[in-house]
């Protein structure tokens, strides 16, 4: 049973639209992460947070932004979607040093 939830699972949207991908976890984890993954490829870290009001950019440059106003919620926003943003976005969390729990992902297609 998932303790970390991502919505929507699938999203097809037109170029230029603003979108927000939701991620929520019920485990009380301080650390949360957003990864971008193209089909069959490795995961690339785009954002992370070590707690409320903490956000950092990851290894892969991304035009998205994140916020962490509540411990359990870590939404990712694209102000103006482009076809190059088409990918799968995975949210994860962990308590400290330890295994990440991943959500099921949001598969985004920008047309």
């Amino acid at each position: 049973e998932a303790d970390i939830y991502q919505t929507p699972r699938y999203l097809v949207i037109g170029t230029g639209k603003k979108i927000t991908l939701e991620c929520s976890q019920t485990m009380g984890h301080d650390k949360m992460y957003w990864y971008q993954q193209d089909p069959g490829m490795e995961l690339h870290l785009i954002h992370y947070s070590y707690g409320v009001n903490s956000t950092e950019k990851g290894d892969l440059s991304s035009e998205s932004t994140v916020s962490r106003i509540r411990t359990e919620h870590f939404p990712l926003t694209l102000e103006s979607a482009r076809p190059s943003h088409t990918s799968q976005y995975l949210c994860a969390s962990n308590r400290d040093v330890g295994g990440y729990t991943f959500g099921s992902g949001t598969r985004l297609t920008v047309v």
Binding site: Y35, G40, E42, L43, G99, Y100, F102, S104
Partner: protein, 109 residues
């Protein structure tokens, strides 16, 4: 920075045989490693982890081996089953995790 990679993009094994998936890393300061399994359309699922002060760790049907001398770790799956078919990722790091490219494990009947 950390670099983590897998040797083979695809591994095909007979059902019932043992599978060995390999991974190499570059950062000797990495002290924690994880293997993840990702089935089609799903997020990665934790399989087993190992800390750098260990050489071997066993789970249910899975064993992870860590060789710090050559910066190599492997995932061994005993008696491979059709449900083991997935992409397997290794990840490592000292704080945040860096993921390698996956190996797609294909089970032949």
């Amino acid at each position: 920075g950390e670099s983590v990679g897998l040797h083979l993009p695809t591994l095909s094994v007979q059902e019932g045989d043992n599978s060995i998936i390999n991974c190499a890393y570059s950062n000797s300061a990495s002290d924690y490693f994880i293997w993840y399994k990702q089935e089609s359309g799903k997020g990665p699922q934790f399989i087993i982890d190992i800390r750098s002060n260990m050489d071997k760790r066993q789970g249910q049907r899975v064993t992870v081996l860590l060789n710090k001398t050559v910066k190599h770790l492997s995932l061994q799956i005993a008696a491979t089953q059709p449900g083991d078919s997935a992409v397997y990722f290794c990840a490592g790091g000292a704080d945040g995790l860096t993921f390698g490219k996956g190996t797609h494990l294909i089970i032949q009947p």
